[in-house]
């Protein structure tokens, strides 16, 4: 299968998956809005009401983190399940395997974008003024897209041979959620812990989103470039791995 066939297939399958999801459930994509709000409720009770922490802008700060975290979480999990979810297909036709994690990530991206628009509208309603730095948000998103794509392809390439990785990722994501600064401001953390936490690229990206959307500060381009470079290296590694193992996936007993 040639590259242009693969690209056509990726786009059509992404569209088909979203359409199928909308047809399958009554609320469909609305769940992507409900989930961050439910999380917000839980953490609001815990932090603001029980622990009297969280500061005045807890709600927008939290939502900013939760919304972009959901994208990362679903993209990565979708990528790790992508090849095994299509195991029947692998026995019937030859398809280059990289398309499965890519479809999963594009699907979660297509669901994330409208949610981010709703989040932006919420900021206006909440009383946060439109700022010039909002223009930087798409750049942060693009960086995050490359990061998710690279990681999803990497775990997608490995999980069929190492099924335990799937469980490790599902649990590891919970751990990462707690240390990525979704419900706290990473800059309030004392050094050197803050620097260690920032080794996690999602912690850095969430902070850059808050810079652009809430604080009116332009994102740190050097920081974004580093994350991009890491993503390119991991992505190239993942593609090489998928190509190398291409014909082995058909033999895996899922």
């Amino acid at each position: 299968m040639q590259l242009r066939n693969s690209i056509e297939l990726i786009l059509y399958k992404t569209y088909a998956d979203i359409k199928a999801e909308m047809a399958r459930s009554y609320l469909g994509l609305i769940w992507w809005l409900i989930e961050p709000v439910l999380y917000l409720g839980a953490f609001y009770i815990l932090f603001v009401l029980v622990l009297h922490r969280g500061g005045p802008d807890f709600v927008p700060t939290f939502l900013c983190g939760a919304v972009v975290w959901k994208w990362f979480d679903s993209g990565l999990k979708g990528g790790s399940h992508a090849i095994s979810a299509n195991r029947g297909l692998l026995q019937q036709v030859y398809v280059p395997k990289f398309i499965f994690p890519v479809i999963a990530v594009l699907g979660s991206t297509a669901r994330f974008v409208p949610v981010f628009v709703v989040f932006t509208l919420f900021l206006l309603v909440y009383g946060i003024p439109i700022q010039l730095t909002w223009l930087a948000a798409p750049i942060v998103m693009l960086t995050q897209l490359f990061l998710i794509m690279a990681l999803a392809m990497l775990v997608g390439a490995i999980t069929p041979f190492l099924p335990d990785l799937k469980a490790a990722i599902d649990n590891g994501m919970m751990f990462l959620f707690f240390i990525s600064g979704v419900f706290f401001n990473i800059n309030d953390v004392h050094e050197p812990l803050r620097s260690y936490l920032l080794l996690n690229p999602m912690a850095g990206l969430i902070d850059e989103y808050r810079n652009a959307m809430l604080r009116g500060v332009w994102p740190d381009t050097a920081h974004l470039t580093i994350i991009l470079l890491i993503s390119f290296v991991l992505g190239a590694l993942a593609l090489a791995l998928l190509k190398e193992m291409d014909h082995k996936y058909g033999k895996v007993r899922f």
Partner: protein
Amino acid sequence: MSAHEILISLQNVSLSYTVRAGMFKWSKYMPLSDISFDLHRGETVGIIGRNGAGKSTLLRLIAGILEPDRGQIINHGARVSLLSLGVGFVPHLSGKQNAMLSGMLLGLRRQEIARRMEAIIEFSGLGHFINQPLHTYSSGMRARLGFSVAIQVDPDVLLIDEVLGVGDEEFRTKSTSEMKRLIKSDKTVVLVSHSLPTVKELCDRAVWIEEGSVKNTGDIESVLNLYTGRSENS
């Protein structure tokens, strides 16, 4: 381009699976070992053998879905396709969308399928049902759609695993005759079938597989005689 031009050549092909037998124990299972034969342009080769002999696995190897662990498959530039019905079908999409998706998975370009969509709908006989979601289809209707899409793929080498006719009586007759027309054309076909009369009618040559190895190969009459003779004796 001679009639005896070799399109695909299998040379001592073996395939093995590593099966995990315990925490840190693995055992090997070899569904195919040391298979050799050539596929010539325009011929129809029947693959016969008992259930579990490795016939379907062999087709997947020729199709390039699996790769041999030993030996090699040399493809002299032929486009190979395993006839599969309903590849990638999604219940919540319409028949038309599923035809599009399935056709793309079988290797067609989006435009090619769009161009042939009328022919697909026409052949399937599904009429206005083509715009209904697939989960409203009966299994026969699914098979009709799957078949109509699959025959649009036009490879140099067509691999067929027991799928000749599908659906109800009417469509079965129609699809079987379409299949036979394809096989009898100058296309190269590898056919796996348990129906010996079908193999005899359609194939020029047969490869008899038993327990993962080639038991016998040659012109259709002689291989079938040996095969049936042996079945009667055993």
